[in-house]
Subunit: 389 residues, 4 copies
């Protein structure tokens, strides 16, 4: 009976039937023109999803973490200075990666639950009159805390400071689910993966490089081979890869882009917002709080929900899995045990979401929390029925 | 986004991943021993599911309706007398089929919502002192009204009357979901299909013939070729079919039997009962009534729910499909417009069921019925969390 | 390692990836408009494949044998007179079915290996001045002997005789692989299945009824319910079936028609001819004879190959399966043990065919026949390389 | 009609039905115990396939190239000395990767077509009395030239020299197809991928680390994060990954190991040898030569076939794809245009192989080479029929 309930983890998401079928393809010669007929539309599709006219897209058989490494190793040299804020587990890990590659990270510690401190960035950038900072890192959506930051504001901070640093954005859990504007926001490297907004299995690191980031390839001396975008780009011209590509996933990505663009990106974002808002209505009806400190930073792809003091939020996840066969996300790092997470991105409907909320209610009541069965569901129902398309 | 919500029609049911994969198989030579390795375990599995030691199982590329025709044409001759009760659309259709094949049916009109009238059967059988009645038809579960009848009581009626008529049971929407005891109840022909309790796509008529029914083959003169069980049985001995078998579906049936027997039939029945009871708790919380007139005839595979006078119940089904992408069943025949149906059989979980109930609530509120959002869900949640395995 | 070799049985055929995926679909409400979006294009597609403007198409969850029964029971009454020739196992079986349904068949015994005797038909029809013969049966392609008959000639026989009998054609192993012209040939009922030219799993009986055959529905009194085309037709108007349809197979059929029409029917026929001709070149290089008595009756979908006197041709099939995992067809009925069959219809390429020929050669040498390894392959290679598209 | 012919590239290979189904799975929570039930058996299975009792297995969402990088970055520091031979494109690329990561490679230039020069290695190692060489690289099977080297001999070279350098082996196109003995040969890091002997889609880098290689983790200072085996190993203990795993591929790997071990590794190797030998018989019958300079270095997974002077071997690959829809491999690097390659590893049968040989013959004749149609096929047939299991 497993596999019948939807998952409510913040990725990998539930997959549409058509994407599973696109991925599950027979072997095809990846050195033949047939492969080019998959690769190039996939690259074009990603570019449109990123809302970019000028980016070069590169796709590695890897994950978002490999995308982070691609961003760093192709553009930087040992000792280069980086500016980054730590407001959750994923921003923390990218910072850690920088340090392991010998980069010098100026970390702005930020409360877990808050967004990126654009004003603080501006201050630091203005003070960096020698322009030693080479890159500003920004995690668009902190999957650990359910916090979406304002990337446009980070761009403004750079511009106000007249600072030439590049802007690298982790959009793993935002791209293709929430509005992302690579060109308008002046993003130099955008990073994502296949298993979130693209609704595919994990296995692809997807990155977009701005012309400025492409220029940086020439001077960067961090060692790289697998993640070298020059080798990758050279191959694309000949419908080829520097090694064996994940053809099925690329075929799925091609189809995913078609699905997203057919629905219309703004409709996709509106759908994610509607579903997320229903979840938030339920959380509110339960008398619980989000980890996100204010409405303007609430994520439309994942909600991290604080449980009462003294209660181990991780028990919710374990109990839901064991008793009801439903997967939620645990709290990570600083908020481990304090929050549980409901992922609501990718291939999800209002109806599926209601089953997740109903399950969360049963679990919380089972575990002794003072929650009224049906209360969150009713709040979400009211929202969904009034806001259905 | 279609195909993501579960269906709540009373069959075809939601299909487990593993059964879809078992059905979707490459072409295999159906005249080779490989085919026998699929066919024979499938036949054995069905026999166990029917709780029979002595039945011969026959499987046609057809549907339950073809199973009805198989039962009649292999055992009867034009003008033969049949006893049957009409208490819903499916019993009606079987009666109609009898008449179209020139059989003489004595119909006991029975309220739609009531079970089969075993006492009335007994009375008629006792009066038939010449034993002209050759077959008693019994629809185990009336899919149209959500009514399960007591087949054991029908058997007792036959026995009390000392009547030698055969007992043919339509178990299409009961077998493999609710208790069915072919041998204990003295069922002579049991009929079902692939798309209900076996959780497969439609496409197989599955019948079990008792030794007595097998004897009747010799004297029956109704014309038959496609549905002739003698041809079918002859083939089986050589791992063959009289024509091309639906190999993939048979492979799926084999796997379905394995799944059901691994879970344990009593556990399967208990699961269906639990899920159904949650639905009934919700119906009660909504202040609505089932079509089934009393608890002892409530079906564990489908609930037909009466809506208030003056309300067109079919609107619920249309609205649910159009606005929420969820499929319920309409009322049929006498109860068209008066009931809507929630199918809750096959591959379903408590969690999936809650999403169906939540949808039904939104729909009914959208259409102006006086239902409190979350009320039915809460009642079901309370039941499910207290009765989870 | 099974399932890796193509099959060379005369149906079910090898299936294209895209059709397997079309068939393997999640459960959909077959009473919803979504179903109509599958059903109606499938019906239209079949009509085009039959080259008919006026036929009504009906599709049953059944097989070609069920299609035969549909043809007979919907148009005829007990005792009606039928004209048919027996020139192989499948024409024999249709005649047998007629007899089992109480029809009076005038059988023209015809050598197995010869085509239908249109001249003999004409003679008999001319002699039937009272027009007692209601239907002429014609097996377009005798799958047992690899013989294709001239249906146009049968039509001419009817016309020359000025006889009003209907013409029923079994096109199970011809339609969608070899030219079939329902309207031009004045076919009244055309019968086929899903598992041959349509390259799908078995499970659909597909029939086309001419206006004249539709008129016959009103007077026919043979009992029928499952195969009643009136019930079926009534449902179609409402996107519905009289019982549960095989939705996945219909979806596959829709896609199969699209594939065939996209390739172009004449190209499909040319492809079958090319592949068949390669096989015939090989047979000739082996020094063997076809069962088909002359080139004009050689089938493009299956070749029945005579083996030398005293040799049991069935051993080839058994040995090929056991030692090489390749499926060929055995001889049936009169030619059992005298021929083995290579099916070459449906989703097949020149390259796949060569592997079948190479296997047949190894098998024949293993079994002591005087065949030169590579000889048939070389003949087919020469043909294929000179006739590739 | 595409996807019907098998591919004859030296990986990704043709995939068995059951592995495709294992890979194509619904989303599962990769932080749940369910994931551990996939991961750990997969790790254990790989260990058995490597014939190791002591190796730690790590599996990255990447490819063999990522496996090379994993080997180097986890065990070495900038400036470390490496010994390697260049005898083909893949050994060349691994050397290039070393250099890009700042390692100091002593390259033994070796003819393309020859095996690794164990004697030369021994000489160099003996001369390295200070033990500056940290690692010896060895490409077990040069996919570019169809050359299998003797890893046992390389181990003996190290032992004879009494040299403590580690031995890293690229087994991408050998492991799970040809005999590989990690422990017996004292391999310190073994590298492979999912898309060759494991018969899966590309997308996994699979590495085994000996205890000695594990010790080297502590001192290695090459920067690494994505490919850090310490993070990876830490996660495994908790059924987890340092980032999102490719769950479906891991499930497929688990199933692939089960298939291989059920068949028996020695049987798998024998099967590859048999199929390869048939190909070599064909090459010989054609009067052509292998790139591999002597029988002892002929690969059982890929044959690189030299074409006559003045002929562009790449035309064979292009023509085969365009005219016959069959994929062969082109020559790479030094042997580009001089050889074409037939991959014969993974999920392949004698029968499928014959179709590849038949195609190659047609192509060569089409292109004017002096080849007799059927000649190579006949030679392979003779071999296969005499050596079938």
């Amino acid at each position: 009976m497993s596999f019948q309930n939807p998952v409510f983890i913040p990725g990998p998401t539930n997959m549409p039937e058509s994407l599973r079928k696109a991925v599950d393809m027979p072997t095809l010669d990846h050195r033949s023109p047939l492969f080019g007929q998959i690769l190039h539309p996939a690259l074009d599709g990603v570019k449109k999803v990123l809302k970019s006219e000028t980016a070069k897209i590169f796709i590695f058989p890897s994950t978002g973490t490999g995308g982070w490494e691609t961003a760093l190793t192709n553009t930087l040299s040992s000792g280069d200075k980086i500016l980054a804020a730590r407001n959750g587990m994923f921003s923390h890990r990218w910072i850690d990666m920088c340090q392991r590659h010998g980069l010098d990270v100026q970390v702005v510690e930020t409360p877990w639950g808050a967004g990126l401190p654009a004003d603080k960035y501006e201050e630091i950038l203005k003070a960096d009159t020698n322009h030693e900072i080479k890159v500003v890192l920004a995690t668009h959506n902190e999957t650990a805390t359910g916090v979406r930051s304002d990337i446009g504001a980070v761009r403004k901070a750079l511009d106000s400071a007249g600072h030439p640093a590049m802007l690298f954005v982790d959009g793993v859990s935002s791209i293709a689910s929430m509005d992302f504007r690579m060109d308008e926001w002046g993003v130099d490297v955008a990073v994502t993966g296949s298993q979130k907004g693209f609704m595919l299995p994990a296995g692809l690191a997807i990155v977009g490089f701005s012309p400025k980031a492409m220029d940086a390839l020439e001077t960067a001396t961090l060692p790289r081979t697998f993640f070298d975008v020059r080798d990758m780009g050279k191959g694309y011209a000949n419908n080829a890869y520097p090694y064996t590509p994940a053809v099925g996933l690329l075929n799925g990505l091609n189809e995913a882009c078609r699905m997203l663009l057919d629905e219309g990106l703004e409709n996709v974002f509106a759908r994610h917002h509607r579903i997320a808002e229903g979840v938030r209505q339920a959380v509110s009806a339960w008398g619980l709080e989000l980890c996100a400190v204010s409405p303007d930073v609430q994520s439309d792809t994942v909600s991290a929900i604080r449980t009462p003091e003294g209660f181990n939020a991780t028990d919710i996840v374990t109990h839901a899995a064991n008793k009801y066969g439903v997967a939620f996300g645990v709290g990570l790092g600083e908020v481990a045990g304090k929050v549980f997470r409901i992922g609501h991105l990718g291939s999800l409907t209002d109806v599926m979401t209601l089953s997740g909320l109903a399950t969360a209610e049963m679990v919380m009541v089972d575990l002794g929390l003072d929650i009224k069965l049906g209360s969150g569901v009713a709040a979400a129902q009211e929202y969904y029925r009034n806001n259905a398309v």
